[in-house]
Structure formats: C-alpha cells, structure tokens
C-alpha cells in the first residue's frame, strides 16, 4: 500500500466511525454486505451484483453452511484519471482490506466499456473479498501475509461451472506463475530460497517493500498454489491444513516447491487443461503466456474444433477464437512451418464455409500476421453476407489486415443501402483482382 492508499485507508477508518452512508452519495445495503460509492448508481448496482455473486461462491467454497461471516463494508471509489478514462501503464493498488473494520476498499482500473470495467472489477472484488473470508474464517491467518495474499491471488480467477453445475475455482494465476518462474531463473536456487524464507517471515511492511512487491505476490501465490495442489480434499479443507502448518513444516516443502517452479509453466497448463471442466478456461489463460508450447496447447484445443457445428457448438466457436488468437502470434514454440500453414488454411476455410457465429468470431479475433493475405478473399466475400454482424466483423478485420482504406463504421455495414455497400465491396474485389494479377 503506498502513501496515497494509506491516506485513503485512514479516511476509510474515519468514514466507518462516522458512518459510510452519510459520506457517500449512493449505497446498496443487503444482509450480506453494504456497498458505498459516489459513482453513478447504475455502475454501483452492477458492482453490487458482482459482490453478491462472489460472496455466494465464497460461502460455498469456504463451506460456511449455516455459519455466516460478518458482513463486509465495501467502498468503491474511482480516481480522477480513471474517471476521465486515462489509463497509465504503471502498476497501482486497486484495492485493500482492513480486517478489524471488515472494510473492503475497491478502486479498480477501468477500460473501454462497462462490461470490461466490470470484468476487471470482478478480479479486484474476488481478491479483496477472499481476504475477508479467509481472515474471518481463520483469524490466525491474518498475520501471515504471504498466505493471505497467496489465497487472495488464487481466488482472482472467475469460477467455472462443471458438468454437474458446481462452481469450480481454478486457483491458477498465469501471470504470477510466470513472474515466480522467472524470479527463480534469475536469482538461482540459493538466492531465491533466501527471498522465500524472508517472505515467509515478513510482516506487512516487509511484504509491501516497493522493490520486491511484485515478486512477493508471485512467490506468495506460487507457494500457496503448490501446497493447495498437494493437499487432498475440498478447498475449505485444504485451506484449513495450510493455515495450520507450522514454519518448520513449510521448510520441508521448499525443495519440492523449487522443483515444481523450475518446470516450464506450459506443463502446469497442460495438466490443468486435462480437466474437462477447466479446459476452456485454461486454454484462454494459456494464450497469455509469453512462450507458448504450441504442440502441447493444440493437444487440448484441436479436439474441441472437431465438435464445432455439432454437439458442442458454442465450445467449437470459442475454440476457433482461441485458435485464431494462437495463430495471431508472431512465433509459436514447437510448431513447424508446415503445421502453421495447415492450421491457417483451416482457419481460412472456416471463414468461407463456417457458420455465421464462427465467421464473426474468427474475423473479430484476427490480427495482422505473416499470413494475413490468406484471409483477405474470404473476408471480402463476407462483406456481402446476409448477416449484418458478419459484414461488420469482416470490414473491421480487413481494416486491420490490409493497407487498402475502407469504411469501418459498423452502422455503414448494418444500415447503409445495398447499393452503397455494393460499391464498397466492388472496390475491394477490384483491389483483390489487381493484387493477384501483380503476383
């Protein structure tokens, strides 16, 4: 927490003493929580539903049953830059939790639209509410910062629903896994072990030291995740074991942890994708990895593509979108040039012969790559589709993939007269003709 966040925390204490509802313009009060903010009420209402869903999920996950944890007070504030939709690349605190006051403070970054805002806010809500549940359920965990942050980071990922309709917490954090793996590579075993020992013994100030904060979050998540994966039973049971572990027990675990962390993160993702309920979530996460093992990933992705258009139609469309994201990358480890060519040809064929949702999904996901030329003809054909949204996606994709200027405004491709659209399509066809005659 930086000095600005500390000041906000002090204000929050004051606010709690005075009463939140007298200081914030809007509030949502339920039996399970109170939410306060100065934002527009619609955004606050939508955030309230995120808080409610998260609390319901955590009630089940922590196996609270009839026992209830005290309701948190949640304060939601935007900073001036976020309000003006100005986003800086520097990392900043997006929330904090004060256990004594049961106060959750949220100030997540905002992105392009309300849906994305909420998507980002959900992650922060889950992280901070995880602190609330863990500390209220296991008060002894409050002083172990690595454990607290480790569990909170593990619960940032949205829950997935398995075939029986049960919520499942993936617990995996791709970015922190990569950071921890890199830290081990850079520091070497000896220095890394020393850093981990220091973290395990650290208090609040030690954990939040500015020079090693990212590494501390990464190591906390990685060590917590490693242990959670080793302990059998439900999440609640595993956390109980984790909280009860003494320092000496933790020391015995370090060699095994180092061995796991030294392995390529692709292997952990391979194991996660092997669980049917987590497959799609894992594949999405996998595509954010810096160095993807394409052959490993495709082992899980390609079987989903054979289902496209048949039993698992929506999964098939998602799988095509994921394949498109993979092929957008300039370099993919462990795939030959021929394999890449075949996969790109598959994608181009789906743009021609696929269903409308498939065409729309691929076109919306395509980015300029060395193979862009192979997609241009099917995309130009899509400009004459009977489905307006397919025409919109094709125009946007052509704008990204080719140098020829076009009209990108969606309303042109949905509402303009057929004659106006035909003129634009005709220009594209002439351009394609000139292009192929030059080759």
């Amino acid at each position: 927490m930086n000095s600005r966040a500390l000041l906000t925390a002090l204000c929050s204490v004051l606010v709690t003493m005075v009463g939140c509802s007298s200081l914030y313009r809007h509030s949502v009060e339920t039996d399970a929580f109170s939410l306060y903010g100065d934002n527009d009420p619609e955004r606050l209402e939508r955030l309230a539903s995120v808080v409610e869903t998260t609390m319901d999920d955590f009630d089940v996950l922590f196996e609270l049953g009839e026992a209830r944890i005290p309701p948190p007070r949640v304060i939601y504030e935007e900073d001036d830059l976020s309000r003006a939709r100005i986003y800086t690349s520097e990392m900043r605190q997006e929330g904090f939790y004060l256990p004594l006051l049961r106060l959750v403070h949220l100030s997540p970054r905002h992105y392009s639209n309300l849906d994305n805002d909420l998507h980002d806010a959900e992650r922060v809500v889950r992280h901070e509410l995880a602190h609330h549940f863990l500390i209220q359920r296991h008060p002894a965990s409050g002083s172990r910062y690595w454990l607290n942050e480790g569990v909170a980071c593990a619960l940032e990922a949205p829950f997935v629903t398995d075939e029986d309709g049960q919520s499942l917490a993936p617990l995996y954090h791709q970015w922190l896994h990569e950071q921890a793996h890199l830290a081990l590579q850079r520091l070497g075993t000896e220095k890394f072990t020393a850093a981990l020992q220091e973290l395990l013994a650290s208090g609040w100030f030690g954990f939040h030291q500015s020079g090693s904060k990212v590494r501390n979050y990464a190591l906390s998540w990685a060590f917590t995740y490693y242990q959670l994966q080793q302990i059998p039973g439900t999440f609640a049971r595993r956390v109980e074991v984790l909280v009860a572990r003494k320092s000496q027990e933790l020391q015995f675990l370090i060699p095994g942890f180092l061995k796991w962390l030294s392995e390529d993160p692709n292997r952990e993702l391979d194991a996660l994708a092997g669980q049917p309920a987590l497959r799609l979530w894992t594949l999405r996460t996998w595509l954010n990895l810096t160095q993807i093992d394409g052959a490993l990933l495709l082992r899980h992705l390609l079987p989903l593509l054979t289902d496209a258009g048949t039993a698992k139609d929506s999964d098939g469309v998602v799988a095509l979108s994921l394949l498109t994201r993979l092929l957008n990358r300039p370099a993919i480890g462990s795939l030959s040039r021929e394999q890449l060519h075949d996969l790109r040809s598959t994608l181009a064929a789906r743009l021609t012969h696929g269903t409308d949702p498939e065409k729309q999904e691929i076109a919306s996901t395509l980015r300029r790559s060395g193979y862009s030329a192979g997609y241009l003809r099917p995309l130009v054909t899509m400009l004459s589709s009977q489905t307006p949204d397919v025409r919109v996606a094709a125009a946007r994709a052509l704008a990204r993939l080719s140098a020829k200027p076009t009209i990108t405004r969606p309303s042109f491709w949905t509402d303009a007269s057929p004659v106006e659209r035909a003129a634009e399509v005709s220009e594209w066809e002439q351009w394609l003709g000139r292009r192929s005659s030059r080759r």
């Binding site: 939709r85 100005i86 986003y87 200027p405 076009t406 009209i407 990108t408 309303s411």
Partner: protein
C-alpha cells in the same frame, strides 16, 4: 509542444495523427491537447474522402520512436459533435 505532426489515413473514415514531442507530458495534457485539436474542423475531415463521415480519430504521441501515449476518439453517430473520448493510454511515466 509538438515538434512535428503527421497525418496518416489508415481508413476512409479513420484519421491518425502522429505527434512528435521533445519530452513526455502529464497524462491529462495528452487528452486536453487532443481535444483542442478536434475543435479545428479540418482535423476531423479526411481530405481524400471528404464525403465520408469520420468514425474514429487517434492521436499517438512519440518521443523519437518511443511511444508515449495514445488518445482515441469515436463518433458513434455520423455528424455528431463533439467526438466521444474513448480512452487515453499513457505508456511512459509522466514527468
């Protein structure tokens, strides 16, 4: 103050201004400077396609080849003014 401004025309209805700066500016000033530019009518018309209504305008700020920030505006309805500020991304630390 910009040392150079180049206009790129990536699409018929999209304009992209590449602005060279001698030094990084504050996050707010990228947006306010771009908003001032939008008030000049000629900056919201594509000279190659003057009859096509502009859909999006981007201002990208550079120091040499280093990208400092980008400001994105959109006109959801043809002819609507002012253009809506979609987002400003600041890639390099503010002074």
């Amino acid at each position: 103050m910009p040392t150079r401004i180049d206009r790129l025309v990536p699409e018929k209805d999209v304009l992209h201004y590449r602005v060279q700066l001698a030094a990084p500016a504050t996050p707010e000033s990228y947006l306010s400077w771009s908003q001032e530019q939008l008030t000049a009518e000629e900056s919201t018309v594509n000279p190659d396609y003057p009859d096509t209504s502009i859909y999006e305008i981007f201002y990208s700020f550079f120091r040499g080849t280093e990208k400092l920030a980008s400001v994105h505006f959109r006109q959801d309805t043809p002819g609507a003014t002012p253009l809506r500020h979609v987002r400003t991304l600041v890639f390099q630390g503010a002074p």
